[in-house]
Symmetry: D2
Subunit: 159 residues, 4 copies
């Protein structure tokens, strides 16, 4: 059993809903999951997690400001997150509206922390995206993503 | 009246269809438009255009190989395209499948040629994207994009 | 004479130094330039500018949090910046440290505002980057970038 | 002992030199390494590798055409590379010339294949970059990157 964090910023609840589905499916894979809005998270908690999943709405093509501020604070533990498993997801107002570049902005931060970032050969390749409120397609992507993240956590951090 | 090029790579005809709508709408804005698959295009023709629009399907998150090969050849005219107007579009198999990063891979090439790249405050911000065959939404984006590209061509290259 | 804004976030003064050189050279091209740290800028001032240049240090591969917060606030004028001229620059701690992706994160925001973004066929293609304090190379890039931005402002916004 | 591939496209030998250092250091970590220019590689060989490292010069901000053509061919094994370890590197003509975006274009392809991509908290975060011929700094980055890639191969594919 590994320790996973799913943290997100959300105003419209779309990203929050995605986070809940992802956290639930990581948990079902047998891991201890912490689900928290980024505002409730203490940066000092970060080093304790084996896997970190970040989610944000799409604000001007990258993550929202509050998520960026949190990532900037994480410099306190720079180097200590290396080798952990990371992944990201995003919601956006419309197709072609920047959701992929938002996911990639989060992935860039995870790579710079020296983490292993998990892609997907099926579906939403960089990480789940939702156009507006998660529909059936987006919910399915979040489920599959959570299960998959859980499987790789098990592989990387065997009991 | 300015000279515009809309060039694309397309196997499924999805990108081709987008290119046709875009070219048609640039033409309706009063410009002379050349519409050509990238395979029929001679790199020596590039310097004659005032505006260049590139389209590609999403192959592994960036433009398709044949479009990349053409862009690599364009180094022959490096510097001579500076200040021209550029923009890009892409099709992809699914939402979150890499269409935005494909558009951005094309935009990066246009920026490196020193061109002016046109974004959009509405709709598909980096350039039109289609999920599979262009549906009504994607066709509308291509129409609006073509008209808008035509307007900025007029502004940048007044008669 | 057009109105240009050069705004930046800077703690080490590296980005500030770049901003000063850029602002100076846009001014020498005959434009009215406002140079301001992002903390001193009121988002309500944005619509008055014809050209906007954004600069940031590289924090985890994209712009710093305070610059992101400002960009998020700029949604108040979404659509009103369309057609303005935009460009970006960044400093970073080292080569390969994320400066290009930081410039691109700023460019994405400018494109989503519907602006025209200026690339460069020479030198730092997406916008000037400095590794640590600006050295002679980086200062030269900032000078050339400022002059070039000024030239395109004149072209887009003739008296 | 895992099986690793280091493949590259290179005309000036800069990228080739980086590939040699990386392959050498992965080998020193105890793995079986295949080092090959992409032109000599058969796409049918891909599924046999546990780790794949891709290198390219910077051509218009993304990987060179021949590397892109190879990646496009790799669709034949789409899904079969999921869970393998991946990473990328690039050379470029100058600082700010597109080397980071080239590395990221390769990383995007690896993520879309469902691979685990390894970032770095030190040095060249997304993967090693060289400005022109690899200097002492770039060579050191390639050495560290090769060793690190080897360590994670061991962790992911224990004997």
């Amino acid at each position: 059993m590994a320790k996973a964090l799913v943290t997100y910023y959300s105003r419209t609840k779309h990203t929050k809903k995605m986070a809940e589905i992802i956290a639930d499916n990581i948990g079902q894979a047998g891991h201890e999951v912490t689900l928290a809005p980024v505002a409730d998270l203490n940066v000092d908690d970060l080093p304790a997690f084996d896997g970190i999943v970040l989610g944000s709405p799409t604000y001007y093509g990258v993550m929202a400001g509050p998520m960026k501020e949190f990532i900037d604070q994480s410099v306190k533990y720079h180097g200590q997150l290396a080798g952990k498993l990371g992944a990201a997801f995003a919601s956006s107002g419309n197709v072609g509206g920047g959701n992929e570049t938002t996911v990639l902005s989060l992935i860039q931060a995870l790579l710079i922390h020296g983490m292993l970032v998990l892609g997907d050969a099926e579906g939403d390749h960089y990480g789940p995206v939702s156009i507006g409120a998660p529909d059936e397609r987006a919910e399915g992507e979040c489920q599959r993503f959570g299960r998959r993240f859980g499987q790789f956590l098990t592989r990387l951090f065997p009991a």
